[in-house]
């Protein structure tokens, strides 16, 4: 049974990462946040007590206090404005990432949570991730150790796909945490299309 390792279990690390970027780039505010996978909204519920920000929680599943829309489609539309996009997905953030890049208002801070799916100790790499790195195999089953090595390469490939849209990453920091999920914060700025 697949286990997706992205929940609020590492709230401390997620908050620490977000606070670092907010303090550096957005304080004292006000700033605007799109929470692309709001879930229970516990991360920004906490941060909103501390910072002056407007908050747009989006999630596919309807719930009180958030917009029930496919945030990939929202981010794929031109014209949205935000200072921070939070892609704290339960799994892969890359569809959101790809959808966002052509329309991203710069400069922009983005948080991504990169989960992993394991079945009986075998890691399955994400298909969107593979495609971004030019690997179009339908099924790529790897031992966990090898998947980890490939994973670093794939993450790097996916993130730097922003360069195709003239967006440079001026800061990329990860907050290591227990479990398989990776919590990464990015600062995107205008660069040259390459």
């Amino acid at each position: 049974m697949p286990t997706k390792k992205t929940d609020n279990g590492n709230l401390r690390e997620k908050l620490f990462l977000r606070r670092h970027f907010i303090e550096k780039y957005h304080r004292p505010g006000p700033f605007a946040v799109i929470d692309a996978c709001a879930g229970s909204g516990v991360i920004w519920q906490t941060l909103r007590r501390q910072y002056d920000c407007s908050y747009w929680p989006l999630d596919v599943k309807p719930a009180r206090g958030r917009l029930a829309v496919d945030s990939v489609r929202v981010l794929a539309q031109a014209g949205w404005k935000a200072d921070i996009v939070d892609i704290d997905t339960y799994g892969s953030p890359w569809k959101h990432w790809l959808a966002m890049l052509p329309n991203a208002p710069l400069p922009l801070t983005v948080f991504v949570t990169i989960g992993s799916v394991k079945i009986n100790g075998v890691a399955f790499t994400d298909l969107t991730q593979q495609k971004l790195a030019g690997l179009s195999f339908k099924t790529l089953r790897l031992p966990a150790a090898l998947a980890g090595k490939l994973g670093d390469f794939l993450v790097s490939s996916c993130l730097t796909s922003s360069y195709d849209y003239g967006i440079i990453i001026t800061e990329a920091l990860e907050c290591p945490a227990p479990g398989n999920a990776r919590y990464i914060g990015l600062r995107l700025e205008q660069g040259k299309r390459t």
């Binding site: 620490f16 030019g134 790097s156 990329a172 907050c175 290591p176 990464i184």
Partner: protein, 197 residues
């Protein structure tokens, strides 16, 4: 409205026997024995610094946990502020607000860590402030951020050598898929080397 606010400003602290105070029957706040013990320790250290709130009939509005803690350490009188200007709904709301409004705040972990460290350095037992030892340990060792290695993959060349012409058709669709990626260049060398001259 202004009259009511004026009344609230003229606060007096009166000391009443704890046995005279009546807990609110519908108090929805739950206090664990561990928390009561924490409050009792704090009272021993700092004294009773925060009076409880009561109405005209000595019904408790706020301070149930302090009363319980005081009883565990043998105190028999409590500092009280008697609020006589509140309506019944206001009393009900204040019972909740006294707990909930404080709960809505949050900590600045960086500053909190500085304060806890200063307490520790001065030899003061920081657990008297209500923090568990393990919690203090975590706060004093915050997570460390590390840079993510970002290397844009170079334009890749996939060189397929030695594939017999007859088998190349079988992998053509795969090669086309790979070639569709903008970062990939494909150079194929299809050989007929297996054929005998």
């Amino acid at each position: 409205m202004a009259k009511r606010a004026d009344k609230a400003k003229q606060l007096e602290i009166i000391y009443l026997p704890i046995g005279d105070l009546l807990p609110y029957v519908n108090n929805s706040r739950v206090h664990t024995p561990a928390q009561i013990a924490q409050i009792a320790r704090s009272m021993r250290e700092f004294g009773w610094t925060n009076p409880v709130l009561i109405d005209e009939a000595k019904n408790l509005i706020a301070g149930h946990a302090r009363i319980l803690a005081a009883q565990t350490i043998g105190l028999d009188r409590a500092p009280c502020i008697q609020l006589s200007h509140l309506s019944e709904p206001q009393k009900k709301a204040l019972v909740l607000a006294d707990n909930k409004l404080a709960e809505n705040a949050c900590w600045n972990p960086q500053l909190l860590a500085v304060e806890l460290k200063a307490l520790g350095d001065s030899g003061f037992d920081a657990t008297l402030a209500g923090f568990e030892s393990s919690e203090i340990g975590l706060l004093l060792q915050p997570p460390q951020l590390k840079p993510v290695a970002l290397t844009r993959p170079p334009k890749m060349s996939w060189v397929l050598i030695g594939i017999p012409t007859v088998e190349f058709g079988g992998i053509q669709s795969l090669v086309d898929k790979i070639a569709a990626h903008p970062n990939v260049l494909i150079e194929t060398v299809v050989t007929d080397a297996h054929k005998k001259n």
